[in-house]
Symmetry: C2
Subunit: 349 residues, 2 copies
């Protein structure tokens, strides 16, 4: 597997222009649907269809553990990763509720959970290792494992595409992964740890200091090259971050829009964009997370979030919450009447 | 009909507290669902139920015309009000699409459209007059008509409550009504016309100046007393604004939450709150409109909008777009597992 695999089709400017022209004919003052008009145009450019439909919706959660938890960076023990995976599958987690609410398929991928998980419907076992190593002390994974993580994401999305896929909602679970995501963002975006590291699931001031120090020490040890995204992933990343990046690239290669969730998913989006910059046209930023630094990461990618609701849960929950807005944008675009169809007078100037 | 009719039950603090306690037990870091947690607590306080369900959803559009269009305040001719009502009923308008998308009942009320409308499914004919008079020259309506407008809103909601109603989405249609709404907001909130008047459906600079002048001249002529909300409605309001205010008060009297749409609906919310201040607990602000001044009106009411998407369409479209967020908040609150139920470890501190 090499970079050559990530062939992203260009954004379809012709479909986008036709969608923009259609928007101007719908029975509303021009521009009055704001961001929803932009979304409709983006969906057209992504899919190459002037009035794309969103019928098949899939939520994929990548789960993995993190050796960096040895540095005391999380308010929760690592066991919670596996416990929450079971909670996702049994229907009790936020993303489980939102999958039902939005009528989306839900798949959880064990790409590197520390403990063994039982077989279960909706669980794909693609474990690369039982968690990463502690990035403060050594590379989180080998380069080969980094490629494997991307490959898992690609394969999972290929399976979804075969079932029909009009939009991809991506999320993650992994105690310690805001620390890895912050390190990835700093390595790729040139940010300082203090600007990016946040409170994650809710560490106190001392915990925040430990997170900042862990990120700084890992980056000082590895000195990763931002021009070598696989090296960044291997040195300071996580299996789920790699899996998400691979999933994003695979979705884009099939002209499927990707709803980017919060802090961790956005670090994966930075990784995917470092591997294939055109993937950014396929991103829809769901929300601005409460997690410090997320806004800067979105700005680095040129993304404007749809929601700003103080969310900081992960699991793809923010992306799932934004999904109805994207669906509404597509429905309005496809099903509103034009001025001519409705016999409504246009503006007088 | 008198103020005494608007008996709003108090916000149920006990149910709200129980909902807050439940939120702390759900399998997520405390507070990580941000505004959605606040929404769940508010819904509990409104309904008096710890885990309220949103099954019956209704969108009511109040439509009326405005004599102030004689001042050249709109980019569209008055005929568009009736044309758009027909578009709502035939399914081609934004709110028609959103009603289908959200599974909501849609009712359009002619509370003062200038022309006669044909009978149609989903249309309630409650015309008080064929549009208001020009508020720049004379009172927009009589005090009796102002009471009638409120009464229309009350009656329509009473009918909805009989069918089952868990949340009310309110919208409006009326060429010229951003001018009336701005005048109502200035009269009740003490704002200056220049801060509140916006571009509406898209007037140019000269049109904006005409709107500002129309609001100023109407307010100078009428000098309405903010302590007399019926007088404000009669002097510078609109039939749909009164109808919306009545609908809000009726919904609150039945412990039904109200999704407040944009600029015009928020002027009606100010009117309702002037009549019965406790109604504010029943409001959920859907979005911050692109229309200038809307943010100040929301702040005056102490409301924080859920969405900020550059919308300025009206029709209840922003409220309908926020509806899935409110539903998701209720679903998450009712259906997520607790830590104990899921066997997930709680935080370590």
């Amino acid at each position: 597997m090499s970079n050559a695999k990530f062939v992203i089709p260009p954004f379809d400017q012709q479909a986008a222009e036709a969608a923009r022209a259609r928007q101007a004919q719908l029975t509303k003052p021009a521009g009055s649907l704001g961001r929803l008009e932009e979304l409709a145009v983006q969906l057209a450019g992504i899919t190459g269809k002037v009035t794309p439909e969103i019928l098949h919706k899939s939520i994929i959660i990548m789960a993995a553990d993190h050796g960096v938890t040895a540095e005391g960076v999380s308010a929760y023990p690592s066991e919670v990763t596996a416990q929450m995976v079971l909670n996702f599958l049994r229907g009790g987690a936020a993303i489980s509720v939102l999958a039902r609410f939005t009528g989306s398929r839900l798949t959880v991928v064990d790409v590197g959970v520390a403990s063994d998980l039982p077989d279960a419907n909706g669980l794909l076992k693609r474990k690369i290792a039982a968690g990463t190593r502690n990035m403060v002390q050594e590379p989180a994974m080998t380069r080969e494992q980094a490629w494997q993580a991307l490959e898992v994401g690609v394969e999972v999305v290929e399976e979804e595409v075969e079932q029909g896929l009009d939009i991809l909602v991506l999320g993650e679970m992994g105690i310690g992964n805001t620390t890895a995501a912050a390190a990835v963002a700093c390595a790729l975006g040139g940010f300082r740890a203090e600007e990016i590291v946040g409170r994650g699931t809710g560490v106190d001031e001392a915990g925040w200091q430990r997170k900042v120090q862990a990120v700084k020490r890992a980056l000082a040890r590895a000195n990763p090259d931002p021009e070598d995204p696989i090296g960044v992933l291997a040195e300071v990343g996580g299996f789920e971050i790699g899996g998400l990046a691979g999933a994003m690239l695979a979705a884009a290669s099939h002209r499927v829009p990707v709803l980017v969730d919060g802090f961790i998913a956005t670090s994966a989006a930075m990784l995917a964009a470092a591997l294939a910059p055109e993937v950014r046209h396929y991103f829809i930023a769901a929300h601005r997370s409460e997690e410090q630094g997320h806004g800067q990461m979105l700005a680095f990618l040129g993304l404007r979030p749809l929601l700003d609701l103080g969310l900081r849960l992960g699991e793809g929950s923010g992306a799932a919450l934004a999904l109805p807005l994207v669906e509404a944008a597509a429905q309005l675009h496809a099903h509103m009447a034009t001025f001519a169809e409705a016999g409504v007078a246009e503006r007088e100037d």
